[in-house]
């Protein structure tokens, strides 16, 4: 499921250690949970743009929805890990989760949620 790992295995075989310096243990363990679950059942494509803040209504399975019901900090780490390991479906899911957290909020709420500073001058 991880294109990075697959390419490394293709290049060096399965006896070599695969270095993953950019992924913390806890996050890697969570990624493995995802991969194990989806090993034989690839998830559905998530429709864009999201039509609801409830991911299940956007085609995400209950399991996947619960899987990303985590702290924002961990969620962002997952995005980075999925990107680094090149696991498209996990990247899509985690990004959709963050998008669902943006959707439905007004501008001030968005700023608050993601620690964004309003830097517009009055005329802008």
């Amino acid at each position: 499921m991880s294109t990075l790992v697959r390419n490394m295995v293709d290049d060096s075989g399965t006896d070599e250690e695969i270095p993953l310096p950019n992924v913390k243990t806890a996050i890697l363990s969570k990624v493995i949970d995802y991969c194990k679950y989806h090993k034989d059942s690839p998830p559905e494509e998530i429709q864009k743009p999201l039509k609801s803040t409830n991911l299940v209504e956007c085609g995400v399975s209950e399991w996947d929805n619960e899987y990303v019901n985590i702290e924002q900090e961990v969620l962002f780490e997952l995005i980075l890990a999925a990107n680094y390991l090149d696991i498209k479906s996990l990247l899509d899911l985690t990004c959709a989760k963050v998008a669902s957290m943006i959707k439905g909020k007004n501008t001030e709420e968005i700023r608050k949620q993601f620690n964004i500073v309003n830097d517009f001058t009055p005329e802008e």
């Binding site: 743009p49 999201l50 924002q72 995005i79 980075l80 998008a99 007004n106 968005i110």
Partner: protein, 489 residues
């Protein structure tokens, strides 16, 4: 276009410029907040899941987010969704039950402005704070970059003014040799009848295919004259014979090709797509590709000019990487990006390799280009309102390759709904009409290039050829930020 030369309308600049703006780092980290650590590509990916309202609310959050949410690719998707909905409405199959709904009007100079206008609002104007991002700047750069005259200078595509079918077969089709024939379409009424003004008058409300969507012709031209796309859309419509049948009266298949399409034996309903109307403005065009089903093709320019580059079978240019089975081709997003980054390298390679028979030429009104089966080619429209018609045909000369392709690459057969059975149906049709061809081998005299150029192109050679120096950061001595910046230039 000139508008783009004054700089990005939303104040986006390449990342390196941040070095000269003291407030840039703080503005980026404060303006992106938690999103900063994801990197620009991921932030854009997040935004792709948002609808227009959510994008609008994000754009008001900070100047960085305004720069990101202004990204044309986001609004192009939303605009194209409006076109798709309009298409469904016309076909009487509106899915969501939304009554009416908004139509896309081309107000303004970009997908973003057009979408906002179509919703009845006015796009924000005025002075914008600077946003530094290579990711955001890239597509703008290729939308604005000028065409280098060096790309258009060589003319080594052979030109003939007119010739008999026999001559054409012996000199070109059977030698797998591209050629420009300048005399065989000059009698077409299309040459005087087809232009934006007259086509819009006759067919302005009729939708024509441009990629995945249909554009009413008048709307298409409005878009074509005012956009910021690095990959400008163009009309490439295989249905024009049913949508605007009067167009068929304005041209005819040139005599050297008439009656020689073996797929004709399959009957109109069951044969692969074979004719397209092409309309595009300057800078639009087709990236490097092979034509489907091992067919040959002719492409006649009726108005404007097209720049052609062609390479023999088995010789994809640098920057273009077909997958092992040939089903997918990886190459830069826009053709101009390919030209900017790989044209010079191709020329250097051609100088060293005689097998790389690169053909370059410009076609004007009345010129027809012949593309032999299996040749790589790309096309760039040089003028606004460049109009052409093109047809593909399964030639007797290449019948064996066609049959083999249909049989061995069924998943790559294109232009027909029943791709799995095309091989058998074609053989059946040949059995009935031309059984001699079932035992024919290709008549092509010149052997196909036997080099495996995909392997000739090592990434290392490419790196060396670009003449750039590379530095690698070691853990003990991280490069200063300034040094790192200079390598990405």
């Amino acid at each position: 276009m000139r508008r783009l030369q004054r700089g990005h309308p939303m104040g986006v600049y390449p990342l390196g410029n941040a070095l000269f703006d003291e407030a840039a780092t703080r503005r980026r980290s404060e303006g992106l907040g938690d999103f900063q650590r994801l990197g620009d590509e991921r932030v854009l990916q997040l935004l792709r899941s948002l609808d227009a309202k959510a994008l609008g609310r994000c754009s008001a959050a900070s100047s960085m987010l305004r720069g990101f949410t202004a990204s044309e690719e986001l609004w192009q998707v939303l605009g194209m969704a409006l076109l798709l909905k309009a298409g469904e409405g016309r076909a009487g199959k509106s899915r969501d039950g939304l009554k009416g709904g908004h139509q896309l009007h081309w107000g303004g100079n970009s997908w973003r402005e057009a979408y906002i206008c179509s919703m009845g609002s006015t796009p924000a104007q005025g002075k914008m704070a600077r946003v530094y991002s290579d990711v955001l700047y890239r597509s703008f750069y290729y939308a604005a970059t000028e065409l280098d005259p060096a790309w258009l200078a060589t003319e080594n595509l052979e030109r003939v003014s007119n010739l008999s079918t026999q001559d054409f077969l012996e000199r070109f089709e059977e030698r797998s040799c591209p050629v420009i024939v300048s005399g065989c379409v000059k009698h077409w009424p299309a040459l005087s009848r087809w232009s934006e003004e007259s086509l819009v008058r006759r067919f302005g409300e009729i939708p024509f295919a441009a990629g995945p969507v249909d554009f009413p012709l008048k709307l298409f031209y409005s878009y074509a004259h005012q956009n910021m796309d690095d990959v400008p859309m163009f009309i490439f419509d295989k249905y024009f014979a049913t949508r605007a049948p009067e167009l068929l009266d304005d041209y005819e298949v040139p005599s050297i090709f008439r009656g020689r399409d073996l797929f004709n034996f399959l009957g109109d309903e069951k044969r692969p797509d074979f004719r397209w109307l092409l309309i595009g403005n300057k800078r639009s065009g087709s990236k490097w590709h092979l034509d489907p089903n091992k067919t040959c093709a002719w492409n006649a320019v009726v108005r404007g000019r097209k720049r052609w580059l062609l390479l023999p079978p088995g010789c994809p240019p640098p920057g273009v990487h077909p997958s092992k089975d040939g089903a997918e081709v990886t190459q830069p997003v826009s053709l101009l990006e390919w030209f900017s980054n790989f044209y010079d390298e191709l020329k250097r390679h051609v100088d060293l390799n005689p097998a790389w028979d690169l053909k370059e030429g410009t076609c004007g009104p009345g010129d027809l280009v012949f593309i032999p089966s299996g040749w790589w080619h790309c096309v760039l429209n040089l003028d606004d309102d460049t109009i052409a018609v093109t047809q593909n045909y399964a030639s007797e000369t290449h019948v064996s390759s066609v049959r083999r392709f249909l049989s061995e690459h069924r998943d790559q057969v294109s232009g027909t709904a029943e791709r799995d059975t095309l091989a058998e149906r074609f053989d059946e049709a040949l059995t009935r009409h031309r059984p001699d061809l079932l035992f024919a081998s290709d008549k092509v005299q010149k052997p196909e290039a036997t080099a495996a150029p995909a392997q000739n192109f090592s990434f290392w050679d490419h790196l060396r050829s670009t003449g750039k120096s590379l530095c690698f950061e070691t853990p003990e001595e991280p490069l200063s930020k300034k040094q790192r910046m200079s390598e990405t230039g």
